[in-house]
């Protein structure tokens, strides 16, 4: 009897605690890491856009257009806000901590260099350009790589949290099956000894154990399915879309820096040529829903348009029409690469938001699949113990 009760107790505890932990992992780690991943992406995007915008503002000449200044300032504010989220979330382990410290230390240095460049530009002397190159070098060689490693560390944690949350509760199910086996052995033993076929208490205990095991198994499978969906239709698409967006921003910065270098920017142009195909590759989204596919197609069409416009722009610059090349790059008309890159970015932003919502929805329904399972498993375990105790108690009483 003691063995039965301990088994029942252990099954109930392992089942209920396991369910509780998985609910916590889903609501806490998975949902939280999902948000932290979004924040890490936001950080990268904001930094990269600040770099591209600062270069474009420089190309604009004179006092930069107010819209560009505002965009740069919004980028810096957004980067700082996103950094505070990631930093507060302590995401990404040691690698994440190191990246956060690096970005927090260097972001003010970067903005200081950009402001110095701006002041000199307003005075009409060329050293402003040298400061801008130094700022951009810091961004591209240090800040962006740190933001990249932060993003990778954080999204790895998301995958780990999801794997733990979606793990099948083998231990609890094993205990449950052992309990059922033990109950059956005891009942067969009693049947042989007492010639009574049924023992209501033990039968109820067996039933409770069976329901417990089935509930645990089914809820776990359902939750794991929703978590898989949260990845396949949510975060995996977000990761690819964010990758495309980041590549596009890098290409945009390359394009501007090629013009800033003015004939001496072959390295930037080479980078553009390498980065742009990545945008198209990342827009091939297996398993994405129809809405996402539509966004991806629209974004891809903009990317193709951009490649064409870029070719024309480079031909202008190579052909000695530098001023026209600059206008083609930073002008406000819809044919400028600034406008096309802006539309591409907007499509990707909407697609990311759409998939972010899918992610949240699937994670919520994964948690939903486990709702009440902890209490249910606990009650069933209590029923199991009670049934076993009563059933055996009665037999013992008959022998006395």
């Amino acid at each position: 009897m003691a063995v039965l009760i301990v088994l029942g107790l252990a099954t109930g505890l392992a089942g209920a605690i396991g369910v509780r932990q998985r609910i916590d992992l889903i609501n806490g780690a998975t949902a939280r890491n999902g948000e932290l991943t979004v924040a890490a992406q936001r950080l990268y995007r904001a930094l990269s856009d600040a770099d591209a915008t600062a270069a474009s503002a420089f190309l604009a000449g004179g006092v930069e257009p107010a819209a560009m200044r505002e965009r740069y300032q919004a980028d810096i504010a957004d980067a700082a806000a996103a950094l505070s989220i990631v930093s507060g979330g302590r995401a990404g382990g040691e690698e994440g901590d190191a990246a956060v410290a690096k970005i927090a230390a260097q972001l003010p240095v970067y903005t200081g260099l950009v402001e110095t460049a701006r002041v000199y530009n307003r005075q009409g002397v060329p050293i402003g350009g040298a400061y801008l190159r130094e700022a951009s070098g810091l961004m591209r060689s240090s800040l962006l790589p740190a933001a990249q490693s932060l993003y990778e560390a954080v999204s790895e944690e998301l995958d780990d949290a999801r794997d733990s949350a979606g793990a099948f509760p083998w231990f609890a199910i094993f205990l449950g099956l052992v309990t059922i086996a033990a109950l059956i052995v005891v009942q067969r033993y009693l049947t042989r000894r007492t010639n009574r076929v049924f023992n209501v208490g033990l039968l109820a205990a067996t039933g409770a154990a069976a329901v417990l095991v089935i509930w645990l198994a089914v809820s776990a499978v359902l939750a794991a399915g929703r978590l898989d969906a949260s990845r396949d239709e949510g975060s995996a698409q977000v990761a690819r879309l964010a990758g495309a967006r980041i590549a596009a921003l890098q290409a945009r910065a390359d394009e501007a820096h090629t013009l800033v270098a003015r004939g001496n920017g072959a390295a930037f142009e080479k980078d553009y040529v390498e980065v742009m195909p990545r945008v198209t590759q990342l827009l091939v989204l297996d398993g994405a829903d129809d809405a996402t596919q539509a966004y991806a197609r629209a974004a891809d069409a903009e990317a193709q348009k951009w490649l064409e416009a870029h070719k024309d722009l480079r031909a202008l610059d190579e052909g000695g029409q530098y001023g026209n090349a600059v206008t083609a790059a930073i002008g406000t008309e819809p044919t400028s690469t600034a406008s096309i890159a802006g539309k591409l970015d907007a499509q990707l932003a909407e697609a990311i938001e759409h998939n972010g919502k899918t992610f949240t929805r699937e994670v919520d329904s994964a948690a939903g699949a486990l709702t009440a399972a902890d209490i249910g498993v606990g009650l069933l375990a209590a029923l199991l113990i009670l049934g076993a105790a009563l059933g055996i108690q009665r037999r013992l009483a008959e022998y006395r």
Binding site: A2, I5, V6, L9, A10, L13, I17, R20, Q21, F58, L59, A60, G61, G62, R90, E94, D97, A98, V100, A101, K102, A104, A105, Q106, V109, L113, Y120, N121, R122, G124, V125, P126, I127, G128, G129, A130, Y131, R133, E134, S136, G137, L138, S141, S142, A261, R262, G263, N264, G319, G320, Y322, G323, V326
Partner: protein
């Protein structure tokens, strides 16, 4: 049985309470200004010259062959005729050398003494001063740009010396510079002798960086991709001094009034326009153009327009020829 239940409860409590307070991150980060892109500390000093100083007259170029052909009517088959056919002259310039060749941040246009000289050559070839395309080249890439035909001419504070004459051809001298030292006002460095143990900056691939290694062997040379990067590093206390041509340094001091050019001038740096060694017709043509600019007062006018801050207007450097 009680013992077993107790053990199970302890196990449950252990499982439920496994979260402990997380240790805080180290929070360590390096401070200080970043190094400009491609700056090298310590600098790599180029090894031996192909032709040592004194093995030639670096100022001597090729004599113009008679009167200049009329603009737009270049002799058939000449380098100039090819340029006319292309429709524009491609000139390698600087966009960071204040007053010589720099990007005016207010307009985004390249302006300066050397830029105006390029316009004059385009005028002589095309009769249209605007048929010129500027490509910026870094100090270290000037010879490569000529050899790889990326540009027709380099007009970019390039010192004529015997070593470079081995690989490119120079026009006659269009400006006489000399190497000097720029420091922050109030610096303890008063001349070459004080550079011992100090970080001194010049552009990668320049004659200046070789001269520092030769004239101040106890200094610690640092190089920037562009000489202007050296001023950035001086402002950020990454170097103690900048040593390059006095003309460039005067531009630095004009941009940052907290710096000063020391009076000591310890080398001669004649500036010439560099062209492909084989394009002797172009070299003679450019020298013809320069003769005209010296004679008709254009050189003096351009000097006064851009460089009057360097001091009273000198005579244009006299042309010297090797043939």
């Amino acid at each position: 049985m009680k013992g077993a239940i107790g053990a199970a409860l302890v196990a449950a409590m252990f499982l439920a309470g496994c979260t402990t307070a997380e240790a805080l991150p180290e929070g360590r980060a390096d401070g200080g200004a970043p190094r400009p892109v491609d700056a090298k500390d310590p600098a790599v000093i180029p090894s031996g010259a192909a032709a040592p100083a004194g093995s030639c007259d670096p100022r001597a170029s090729l004599r113009p062959s008679g009167a200049l052909p009329a603009a737009g009517r270049m002799p058939a088959g000449s380098t100039m005729a090819q340029i006319v056919k292309r429709g524009r002259l491609v000139v390698g310039v600087d966009q960071n050398n204040y007053r010589f060749g720099y990007r005016d941040p207010k307009t985004g246009n390249l302006v300066g003494f050397e830029i105006d000289l390029a316009y004059e050559i385009a005028e002589a070839i095309f009769g249209d001063r605007n048929k010129v395309q500027f490509r910026t080249v870094t100090t270290a890439e000037r010879e490569k740009a000529i050899q790889e035909n990326t540009v027709d001419i380099v007009i970019r504070s390039m010192t004529m010396n015997c070593d470079r004459w081995q690989r490119v051809a120079f026009s006659t001298e269009y400006f006489s510079a000399g190497q000097a030292i720029l420091v922050a006002k109030g610096s303890a460095i008063k001349g070459l002798k004080d550079l011992t143990g100090q970080k001194v900056c010049a552009a990668t691939g320049s004659t200046s960086i070789r001269n520092i290694a030769a004239k101040a062997p106890q200094a610690k040379p640092v190089s920037g991709a562009d000489a202007l990067d050296c001023l950035v590093m001086l402002q950020q206390n990454q170097v103690a001094a900048v040593s390059t041509d006095d003309a460039i340094l005067a531009g630095f001091a004009a941009q940052d009034p907290s710096t000063v050019v020391l009076p000591e001038r310890f080398t001669e740096e004649p500036y010439g326009m560099a062209m492909k060694k084989e394009s002797t017709d172009l070299v003679r043509f450019v020298n013809g153009v320069l003769e005209g600019l010296r004679a008709d007062g254009t050189w003096t006018r351009l000097y006064n327009k851009w460089l009057s801050a360097l001091g009273s207007t000198p005579q244009p450097p006299a042309a010297r020829y090797q043939d």
